[in-house]
Symmetry: C2
Subunit: 517 residues, 2 copies
């Protein structure tokens, strides 16, 4: 076999978890290696496969290693490394097959997911795979194989009991703080609901960001089991638990491409990994949501239900109102405060309604009758509040936290109505954008609070929305943006209603890509 | 606007020409930046956009730069850099549009190609673009726009005259040394044929590799013009001339994915860049070639002709015999020797026939009658040999070089026939593989020489093929491979003819991907 001896050059940075080696063009020619080919690295009695990056002007007798390789092999620099051309991972054949349109079999998909998690595939190969999935779509069998492989290549949580209930929203409307009510309602009724959530990817707040303003969310598996044991529920961050780790790796490549072909396996693999048996999936549908129309919503919902069956999970979907933000508050702390107020009896009607509806669906899935009524009773009786406070306490927070004690941004500005009128349009996209520019979710106290919802009347000069920020420069920029975007449209005259917008369109990269889990 | 000040950390390696900056996860969060987002780097009075790589465990107050950025900004390390989130390049919107199936307009494609050449697009984005093109196919308009953009973003050669003739093969069969005859035949008749060629990408020899064994091929634009001025022709390496530079950048991403969606614009942009007006495209068709059947060949040929019209080039395609290697020799020096012998009057009939056929087609394209006969006369009269020697001399080689003077590998082994019989099958794939393992094209003297072609009779123990190498270990490995692959199949009995192969198949990554220009 043709091999070479090269001197190790150690780079002090990581390569995103991938095993990448850098060689000169000359070395590449000698080895018969082209861009992204694999090479076998042999040092002491260790051997590993690396992805090749060919760099012009790289010293011809050297091989450069990022930290993943140098730390594993214990290299300091200068060691002699034996290098030879290596075969490609088997999964690349399957990626190519998918690109050419072939429907993949379970073991082929499993190999791809394993190699993604092991970092054996380059970003180019993963990008081609995801682009192909996006264009061709996935069959139910492929979705099932992906979900199973994503569960199997990560850790799982076993609570040692059934049923395990869960709730998830595909996202799309800002302010969707429903989980903070649903979890206590379900837990108060004696059912186990160990909710793991993500941080926001492209939105102003994810469930983990919201709940973190009330108590810690970064719990270990042991701690989570303890909390659930004691209270029946939890609201924790799933990110460090290594559940379906392939998901984050796929998202890193999906994000720059603005595609989301793995929506179903991404969501259901995480549910399966925590042993969920009954899951309600919220699909906000409407002008302001990810899913714009009912046809698309029904199609997605039935895909969820079918995939759930294949994974031995009972899934029900709720198509919910997606024309405007949920509640009035958008931003981690603002939303946590609103959720807390609502569970205590004083909150927006739409938030309350959505919470008891989704909780009610879960109740009926496990055999109770009049689920919505039961949920409403638990909420109104104060049992849900009591349970929420237990969960907060067990997760390490202050159980008697009051809404006013939630720390909000102290730099506040408002937009006022230029005329009186009825709210005819709220741009959820713009509201989310303003909240983010104000600093959400990183600045937990930042965000936006609406004062009126669709259809409500507004007086001239009344406050339309308030912007909260933790820093003055962010407040200023958010305010400017809000004035430019005009996210809330009032109408009195027919003239204002008829012309929605004029073309040419802004080019589409300006439209934010909604990627949420 | 939200910005940060970070300390520059200079990495001593390049990032494949891309402007990449490395930041910590924390810095990314503060800036609101996700993987592959863009950031604006400001230092002294300079500003540039960089692609973000987010690295775990990277110092939070630092920003890491590869050489492309640090050398342009003149950084040594430790300088304070101002960093802010930047808008995405406009071309990303167009890439996403293509991924979603939209047919792109000329200016959108132009922007993508410009950003590829400027290294503003990440490999993930280019991979998604190419995968989408592969899956959807390209319209004639898209092919035209790509070809034009690829020409416009590079240099062009202007010989100040017309017509400019050219020949190109899409490749696929080993041993295709035809250009070494066609160019002198055309030039001898007084027509200008400034042939630029590539080195081999996946094959054992490219035209540039072959001709380099006779004389230098790495000429500058000035030198090329001089050679063409004096002799009407040349056979040079196009790689350093910056003609259609986007092509190599696309190929680097196509190669690991095993796809070739840009075959047409890749070839025709290079022809257009040298001002070609009349081009004959050789499309080897057959079991051993890239194009397996006539339907595919006709389809490709008419695409070439149509695209040529859009680019104001007169294109004719020749569907040529693709069942076995052309001539007997495979490997740079071996093929150059065979071409030289043939132009001197002693060479394989198939090589001679193909050369005069293609040259004849070019003659008829510029208005001559009986093109093939004219080409044959030029060859037989010795005028083609004389012209070849002029070209060799003007390019800096020895004009009176003899076939025996071409330096071949001196380590030689042969495979002999185990039985007598008729040659019923020659695996072009295996022949190419053996030649490469023997060292071609890097080891110019390495390769394979067949002794018999399809349909010819072979006696028991006669030499079937010879392997040439420059190093013993390569010879040994190539010989082992040849014994294992059995590239030449003899048949006497019907039994040997009927069963071609048994399944299961080897998995497809083992099949070599043919990418040639």
């Amino acid at each position: 076999m043709s091999f070479m001896k090269l001197s190790a050059e150690v780079l002090k940075i990581t390569a995103g978890g991938k095993r990448i080696a850098i060689i000169s063009e000359e070395t590449a020619n000698s080895l018969g290696v082209h861009s992204s080919d694999r090479i076998r690295i042999i040092y002491a009695s260790q051997e590993m496969i690396a992805i090749t990056n060919i760099a012009s002007h790289f010293p011809r007798n050297q091989i450069g290693f990022y930290e993943e390789i140098s730390s594993t092999l214990g290299l300091k620099g200068g060691e002699t490394i034996v290098v030879e051309h290596a075969e490609l991972p088997e999964s690349i054949a399957h990626v190519r097959a998918k690109v050419s349109g072939k429907r993949l079999r379970e073991k082929e998909i499993k190999k791809i997911v394993e190699d993604v998690v092991e970092r054996h595939l380059s970003d180019v190969e993963i990008a081609a795979f995801l682009t192909a999935l996006h264009i061709y779509g996935l069959s139910l069998g492929e979705n099932e194989a992906l979900s199973k492989a994503m569960v199997q290549t990560g850790k799982t949580l076993d609570f040692g009991q059934t049923p395990i209930l869960d709730k998830h929203s595909i996202g799309g409307i800002p302010g969707d703080k429903t989980s903070i009510l649903v979890v206590p309602i379900i837990a108060a009724a004696g059912f186990t609901i160990p909710k793991t959530s993500s941080r926001a990817v492209t939105s102003p707040a994810g469930t983990a960001d919201r709940f973190e303003t009330l108590c810690p969310v970064k719990l270990s598996m042991q701690e989570i089991k303890r909390v659930v044991e004691k209270t029946n529920g939890c609201l924790v961050w799933g990110g460090a638990l290594d559940l379906a780790p392939a998901d984050d790796l796929f998202i890193q490549v999906e994000y720059p491409l603005g595609i989301d072909p793995l929506l179903l396996p991404s969501i259901l693999s995480k549910k399966k990994a925590i042993g969920a048996t009954h899951v309600v999936i919220d699909i906000p549908t409407g002008r302001g949501a990810k899913i714009k129309d009912l046809a698309e919503a029904y199609s997605l919902a039935s895909d969820f239900v079918d995939l759930g069956k294949r994974l031995q999970m009972n899934i029900q979907c709720a198509l919910t109102y997606g024309e405007q933000p949920l509640g009035f508050a958008v931003g981690p702390a603002l939303e946590a405060k609103e959720a807390l107020s609502t569970i205590m009896g004083k909150g927006p009607a739409d938030l309350k309604e959505k919470a008891i509806t989704l909780a009610g669906m879960l109740f009926e899935m496990v055999g109770l009758k009049d689920g919505r009524q039961k949920a409403q009773d638990i909420l109104q009786s104060g049992k849900a509040e009591k349970k929420l406070r237990e969960i907060i306490k067990e997760q390490g927070g202050k159980s008697n936290v009051k809404p006013d004690e939630v720390v909000l941004g102290d730099k506040i500005a408002s937009i006022r109505a230029k005329q009186s009128g009825r709210v005819s349009w709220i741009s959820t996209e713009s509201i989310a954008h303003i909240a983010k520019v104000a600093g959400a979710p990183k600045a937990k106290g930042a965000g936006v609070v609406l004062t009126k919802k669709l259809g409500e009347n507004v007086k001239e000069n009344a406050i339309l929305l308030e912007i909260y920020a933790e820093r003055n420069n962010k407040l200023t920029t958010a305010l400017e943006l809000a004035k430019k975007l005009q996210p809330i449209v009032l109408s009195k005259k027919i003239r204002d209603q008829i012309l929605i917008d004029k073309i040419p369109e802004k080019f589409s990269a300006e439209k934010p890509f909604m990627l949420e889990r």
